[in-house]
């Protein structure tokens, strides 16, 4: 929290009550909320100062500043889209960064195992069981969905918003879709591994397969949580 510096001196109980009301209406990561509250507090103190130098006693100056800021619900409404966008961006970036790493682990695990006649990368192998072949194609579809939705999530939450029509739900929706895509890819990877363990476990490279499985399981859980969180934030937007 050092980014926001030491806490401001309180602007009196009324200001703190107002800020608490705004905070209570904001969902999302605590860090984002802390930054918003710190900024609003300094603005309220500035407004109260202005009313004090215009002649109001401190307590009334604080109340006038609060009136000037408007209903807590309205202020929180304005910030909700911003919080959803920044959360969506974080989720999309995390998915796009971890995807290739987990994917490389699976490719390494498959390459070190003896699954089929190798003619290149795993999806070009000949003689692999039909189930494995179909599974790998489904993984490719899930990876494609994740990548495109993730890129859209990043585009809809950053500088490209300049040129896009203002639709606050776009970024959290895209990030949630990317999360579900990642769950699909990781879940399929684990299912293929389970099928291989059930049929011919001896052909697997144990260390790399275990590493890929652990990485995918972790990503599956985190992607699921992130997708649900994005959907929850999306639901708070008009």
């Amino acid at each position: 929290m050092s980014r926001h510096g030491p806490p401001e001196p309180a602007g009196g109980p009324a200001v703190e009550r107002y800020l608490a009301e705004v905070t209570a209406r904001l969902a999302g990561p605590g860090r984002a909320r802390a930054g918003i509250v710190a900024e609003l507090r300094s603005g309220l103190l500035d407004a109260a100062d202005a009313h004090r130098s215009a002649g109001l006693p401190p307590a009334q100056a604080a109340l006038a500043a609060i009136r000037e800021f408007g209903e807590p619900a309205r202020v929180a409404d304005g910030f909700r889209a911003e919080i959803a966008a920044s959360q969506a961006r974080r989720v999309a970036v995390a998915l796009l960064v971890t995807g290739p790493l987990v994917g490389l682990l699976w490719i390494a695990a498959a390459s070190a195992s003896h699954l089929a006649l190798r003619l290149g990368l795993p999806w070009q192998w000949a003689g692999s069981p039909a189930g494995l072949h179909l599974g790998i194609h489904l993984v490719a579809v899930a990876v494609g969905v994740t990548a495109w939705a993730g890129l859209l999530g990043i585009a809809a939450s950053g500088r490209l918003t300049r040129w896009l029509p203002d639709r606050p739900r776009r970024a959290p929706t895209a990030a949630a879709v990317a999360g579900f895509g990642a769950m699909g890819a990781d879940g399929l990877g684990l299912a293929l591994l389970a099928a291989q363990l059930a049929t011919a476990p001896g052909r697997l490279s144990p260390a790399l397969a275990a590493a890929a499985a652990v990485a995918s399981a972790a990503r599956l859980l985190l992607a699921g949580r992130a997708a649900r969180r994005c959907l929850a934030l999306r639901a708070t937007l008009a």
Partner: protein, 113 residues
């Protein structure tokens, strides 16, 4: 002036207020009030989310500053923000010229049959 009337122009107005130099939230609000001759008097709390949206779009840059003993988030235009402001100004000039012409009472010579 009702906030609804300003809808769609708030971004451009905020960029214009930041044109002379960096400003923090409350000073931006004061500038809005003064420069509009008191016509624009938004709930101050609604200006902050708009500033965050502009920052996300890369049109302004916010940073914490401790000048004057109070930590404030200070906003300044980015080069992209300056471009956007120029575009907003010329769009507004064309639009307002057209609407002014249209809203003017038609000359008597044209309205009589």
């Amino acid at each position: 002036m009702r906030p609804e009337t300003l809808k769609g122009h708030l971004d451009g107005i905020l960029l214009a207020v930041l044109d002379p130099g960096p400003c923090h939230g409350y000073a931006i609000m004061e500038a809005l009030r003064v420069r509009s001759g008191g016509q624009v008097d938004l709930p101050t709390g609604t200006v902050y989310p708009a500033l965050h949206r502009l920052e996300r779009a890369g049109l302004v840059k916010g940073s914490w500053s401790a000048a004057g003993g109070r930590r404030r988030r200070v906003y300044q235009l980015t080069p992209a923000g300056r471009h956007a402001l120029d575009a907003e100004r010329s769009t507004w000039r064309d639009f307002s010229a057209a609407v002014t012409a249209l809203l003017q009472p038609a000359p008597a010579a044209l309205s009589s049959p």
